[in-house]
């Protein structure tokens, strides 16, 4: 049975008509039409589907879209600052922290949430902050350098 509700994604309100059990990831990709958020494992393990819900990271593959009503959803499409890349995006490119790129949107969402609760995370805190995101190209060292460079940049 489909149900109708509204979803706030990146500050825009979208009307949604979807099955009650449809996950947030599928609604974002299929109903809202934003495909930057990726489906990796579809099992709450890999973090490719990470979005922010009221600023906190959530695995959108394992969260019902109907439960996101009345909350602010932020996806990778919502992190740019106008035409400018977010510092995390730029630093990932500069550090070579993007290989195949599939994990990158999720990594950026987790890193953004991390830097919002901890402006200058120690290396171990950064590792824990990204611990719900897998990169199968094994690019973790460069990704962590990009997070560190962003923390320095945003706080100097």
């Amino acid at each position: 049975m489909t149900t109708s509700y509204e979803l706030d994604v990146n500050g825009v309100t979208y009307p949604v008509n979807a099955d009650q059990g449809k996950n947030l990831l599928s609604v974002i990709r299929e109903n809202v039409g934003l495909t930057g958020t990726k489906e990796g494992c579809d099992d709450c393990e890999c973090g490719a589907c990470m979005v922010l819900l009221d600023g906190q990271p959530v695995n959108s593959c394992s969260y019902l879209a109907v439960q996101a009503q009345g909350r602010q959803v932020t996806t990778i499409e919502g992190v740019m600052d106008g035409p400018e890349m977010h510092a995390l995006q730029r630093n990932l490119l500069e550090a070579g922290g993007v290989q195949c790129g599939f994990c990158t949107p999720g990594m950026i969402m987790s890193a953004k949430a991390l830097l919002e609760r901890d402006e200058r995370p120690e290396l171990d805190a950064a590792r824990i902050g990204l611990s719900g995101n897998l990169c199968r190209c094994t690019g973790y060292a460069k990704i962590l350098s990009a997070v560190e460079a962003t923390a320095v940049e945003l706080n100097t």
């Binding site: 009650q20 695995n59 439960q67 171990d124």
Partner: protein, 298 residues
């Protein structure tokens, strides 16, 4: 099919009474449904916006911990970290930052997994569960609540609203330690919690030990208090470990054999007693113990 967003406990109870199932973070329910473990219930009531289900409050009977406290809140709450540290140790190990933000203490308890991280800590700290339904409320011990893997004795119309902890005691420390193969998105291979109170001379005045993932429900170790009272903290750990290994009734599955679990639960129980005794003695060991003293995966 229906989906209701409740903003008060009473609204939620009415929906539960009409046959709906509660959903908070959905980290067990939604993942379980997609695994084919159990279909997503047709009627759901979202309880994640009910303010009265959150927070930690001190009262004359001890501490009331709202069932909706997320693991991220539990692991940083000053009262829990200060006096009921084993629960914080456990919440800090659950899933990943995203799981800890949407996953709740109440969900962990009511999902009834024998491998739940917060169950053994709550057990050794003497927690009770407050259940409410449209017809009233009752408070039960956790031992009465858990009936088997994924099963509780709560009726379908009952909602876990809070966990209650007795007042903190002087010179009491607690810790939860688990064996894990990796540091995120992991489930306990085995886990052990201990609460230790020390006497003025530094010997054990009282102790409780409970185990995760070695029986159909969280297992309290029998006779551990009698065996350890009066011993030095250093001597207590190995005895607790031996009792834990002896009483464990583990299964073999793809994560570990029963033999390996039986051996490792002894190691974890010893480490939990050691860490709890050190905390009882005033030493500050950061949450979670697994990370701060290098237990578990490297």
């Amino acid at each position: 099919m229906s989906f209701t967003i409740a903003t008060t406990v009473d609204e939620a109870l009415v929906a539960l009474g009409a046959g709906a199932r509660p959903i908070a973070g959905g980290t067990d329910l939604v993942v379980g449904a997609r695994h084919g473990k159990a279909a997503l219930p047709a009627d759901l009531v979202a309880i994640d916006r009910i303010d009265e289900l959150g927070g930690v409050e001190l009262d004359s009977a001890g501490v009331r911990v709202g069932a909706l406290m997320s693991h991220a809140e539990v692991m940083t709450d000053p009262v829990i970290v200060g006096s009921y540290t084993a629960i914080a140790d456990a919440s800090a190990l659950v899933g990943s930052p995203s799981t800890r933000h949407v996953g709740t203490l109440g969900g962990n308890v009511m999902n009834g997994s024998p491998a739940m991280d917060t169950g053994a800590p709550l057990t050794v700290l003497g927690a009770t569960a407050e259940l409410r339904s449209v017809t009233g409320g009752r408070t039960v011990s956790l031992d009465e609540l858990w009936a088997g893997p994924g099963r509780t004795t709560a009726n379908p119309g009952e909602l876990l609203v809070a966990l209650h902890l007795p007042p903190a005691r002087d010179r009491c420390g607690s810790a939860y330690v688990r064996l894990e193969y990796r540091r995120a998105m992991e489930i306990a291979v085995v886990g052990a919690a201990a609460a230790v109170t020390l006497a003025a001379d530094g010997t054990v005045a009282s102790v409780a030990v409970a185990l995760a993932a070695v029986a159909p429900t969280i297992l309290s170790v029998d006779g551990v208090n009698e065996a350890l009272v009066g011993r030095t903290a250093a001597a207590a750990g190995p005895v607790a470990g031996a009792l834990a290994s002896e009483q464990a009734a583990p299964i073999s599955d793809l994560r570990a054999s029963d033999r390996y679990r039986r051996h490792c639960i002894g190691v974890m129980a010893k480490r939990a007693v050691d860490a709890a005794a050190r905390r009882a003695d005033g030493e500050s060991i950061a949450v979670p113990v697994n990370r701060s003293i290098g237990i578990g995966a490297a």
